[in-house]
């Protein structure tokens, strides 16, 4: 899947099981909230950056991109703290957020989507006692991933069709001529997909070993 944020490398961080990395991330976030001092938070930030760049050998541009996505938030929050609390608290909270964002980015860049989905399925396994089948969770994730390119393709097609008719595709009128037909089309499509899946036995309860399944 080319869409993912995973960066392949041979490093100890990459080899670490996904579940452990998630636990480590949770541990870090608890630590920086429990000890909100500048050395603690600054140290966490330095450690995370070192782990990502040196140990996992991730490109610096990846961390920069994640940091830039929250840059304006951090600036605005710092200014807000400056106005309503004090500069030190502002620095601690901003650095803390930055450390956590980068730590999460390191986990994401070093873990394959399939490994993460496996963790999701494992975490969801207890749900089978309330009637949720784990296989259905895998199915719904797979369907969503397939629908993403399909919807953009359908959107392009409708836009072209309207343009070919000289129809308006902008403004309020554009909603009626493009967005509504698109939604109706993809809803019908989803319905067709579900019927095709059911026809192939997707709705069946798995057969219990040693006997026919109950009705």
């Amino acid at each position: 899947m080319t869409l993912a944020l995973y960066v392949p490398r041979a490093s100890p961080v990459h080899r670490m099981p996904a579940g452990w990395k998630l636990l480590a991330l949770a541990g870090l976030s608890m630590l920086v909230f429990a000890v909100p001092t500048l050395p603690m938070v600054g140290g966490a930030l330095v450690a995370v950056v070192a782990l990502g760049l040196v140990v996992a050998r991730l490109p610096a541009s990846l961390l920069v991109r994640q940091a830039r996505a929250v840059l304006w938030w951090l600036v605005a929050l710092f200014v807000l703290h400056w106005l309503v609390t004090d500069v030190l608290t502002g620095a601690v909270t901003v650095l803390r957020l930055l450390a956590l964002v980068l730590a999460a980015a390191v986990v994401t860049a070093t873990t394959r989507v399939t490994a993460m989905v496996a963790v999701v399925e494992r975490v969801c396994r207890p749900l089978q006692w309330v009637g949720v089948r784990p296989a259905r969770i895998g199915l719904v994730i797979a369907m969503a991933l397939r629908f993403i390119p399909l919807i953009s393709e359908r959107a392009d097609r409708i836009r072209e069709a309207q343009a070919a008719r000289g129809g308006s595709i902008r403004g309020l009128r554009g909603l009626t001529t493009t967005v509504v037909p698109l939604l109706v089309q993809v809803l019908q499509l989803a319905h067709t997909v579900s019927e095709a899946l059911d026809a192939r036995g997707a709705d069946d309860v798995p057969v219990r070993r040693g006997g026919p399944r109950a009705a």
Partner: protein, 187 residues
């Protein structure tokens, strides 16, 4: 839950993802994205339960490492960031919009749809977002709420109106919420 419901849930998770591809409008420092439009449509087309699950699924897709948020970010980083609460509130927002839509279903029009979108897509999202923003930043709730409101409300009002117009037209040609609930049928 039927396979059809799973397909609708997957569809609206995908719609929120595709709306992330629409270029964000940079109003002030923060890009206003089209993605909360997906939250509103999920609630007002699918109803409470499926709307909730579809946006939860979207968050799972983001969390496992797909760059589906509008800034091209994804993975676990956004859930640790300052706007984590605003994202985490999406399933709840879709649920509230869906719940209200189910109640308005027999007399559903643009005004009711807009009301549902504003309550679920604006009020719920801003309250949860501001609460999380306040907690992770040692800010008072009201400071954080004003901050979020100033940033998001103008764009969200436009999106609530768009989603209302679309939802009413989709209901006319392809209603997914099947039967009106008791609260409406009593009239």
């Amino acid at each position: 839950m039927k396979t059809k419901d799973l397909a609708y849930i997957a569809l609206f998770a995908a719609i929120t993802a595709v709306l992330g591809l629409v270029p964000a409008v940079p109003i002030g420092p923060v890009p206003i994205t089209a993605q909360t439009l997906g939250v509103m449509l999920a609630g007002s087309v699918l109803g409470a339960r499926r709307g909730f699950l579809s946006q939860l699924l979207f968050l799972v897709l983001v969390a496992v490492g797909l760059p589906l948020l509008s800034s091209g970010t994804g993975g676990l980083a956004p859930f640790a960031g300052p706007y984590a609460g605003y994202i985490l509130s999406w399933p709840v927002g879709a649920f509230v919009i869906g719940w209200l839509t189910e109640r308005f279903w027999s007399r559903f029009n643009v005004a009711w749809a807009f009301t549902a979108n504003v309550l679920g897509g604006l009020v719920v999202v801003d309250v949860i977002g501001a609460a999380v923003l306040g907690i992770v930043n040692d800010l008072s709730f009201w400071h954080a709420a004003w901050f979020g409101a100033l940033v998001f409300v103008p764009g969200d009002l436009v999106k609530a109106a768009i989603a209302a117009v679309v939802a009413v037209q989709v209901r006319r040609s392809y209603p997914v919420i099947e039967r009106p609930r008791r609260a409406v049928a009593r009239r």
